[in-house]
């Protein structure tokens, strides 16, 4: 059974709240690695704002930054997202099966009630 760390899950979900950060992650998914300036180019915000988003993503463990000379390269680190997905899926299984049985039960009860004229 996977061990979930609630603090890590909160950081992951909090990082994913922001549309710009999601766009950054989606781009890194497509392009594997990008320099900070290449990453900042399509966004209508200034470089320091992009850097702040990168700080949040790095704190959440969703990206890594490595410096070579004067160039900083950013890469995606998807593991925390996998944990977040697992967390969601676990609950989805739990509730999905419960709701299937709820539906069956309510349908049986309703049919019985109608038969007895309620």
């Amino acid at each position: 059974m996977v061990k979930y760390r609630p603090a890590q899950l909160d950081r992951t979900f909090a990082a994913l709240v922001d549309q710009t950060r999601r766009a950054i992650l989606a781009r890194l998914e497509r392009e594997d690695r990008l320099t900070v300036s290449a990453l900042a180019t399509p966004f209508a915000i200034k470089l320091p704002a992009v850097m702040k988003h990168l700080d949040v993503l790095e704190d959440a463990g969703l990206i890594t930054r490595s410096k070579e000379g004067r160039t900083v390269t950013v890469r995606l680190r998807p593991e925390p997202m996998r944990d977040a997905l697992d967390w969601l899926r676990r609950y989805e299984r739990f509730w999905s099966r419960s709701l299937d049985r709820l539906a069956e039960y309510a349908e049986r009860e309703d049919a019985a009630a109608r038969r007895s004229g309620r």
Binding site: K3, Y4, R5, P6, L9, D10, F13, A14, L16, V17, Q19, R22, L25, A26, E29, L76, P78, E79, M81, R82, A84, L85, L88, R89, R90, Y91, E92, R93, F94, W95, S96, R97, S98, L99, D100, R101, L102, A103, E104, Y105, A106, E107, E109, D110, A111, A113
Partner: protein
Amino acid sequence: MTSLTLVRRIRARPAMVFQALTSAEGIAHWWGPDGGPVLLAESDARVGGSFRVRFRTLDGSEHESTGQYLELVAGRRVVMSWQWTVGGEPDERGEVSRVVIELAPADAGTELTFTHERLKTEASRRSHEEGWAGALDKLERYFSTGT
């Protein structure tokens, strides 16, 4: 599909579905992730009242969840807090999340919309509303490429 929102069409009237959702007898019939038995079901179905459900899963382990009814509108809406007190997700013990269930008449039955919100931080609640599940889906192919 990865989402905490689930929708079901049920061939039963909303009042019957509401009763099945909130009565101890009803809960005993449906609660749990597999075919294991519900061992105990208590439900004080009024705002501020609490519920407690203990169940065994097919692997033999026992779990218990409890919570409070935060909103109840007969035949329409149930909002409850939710947490594990035994088993479940040990790492989440003591963390309170929120379940919202909406019922709407549909054809001759009911459309049930179920949402489990993780509420520890305001940020994560907002993130759910803004649809991060979709963003996660988009990144999902990463996860199929191994660990």
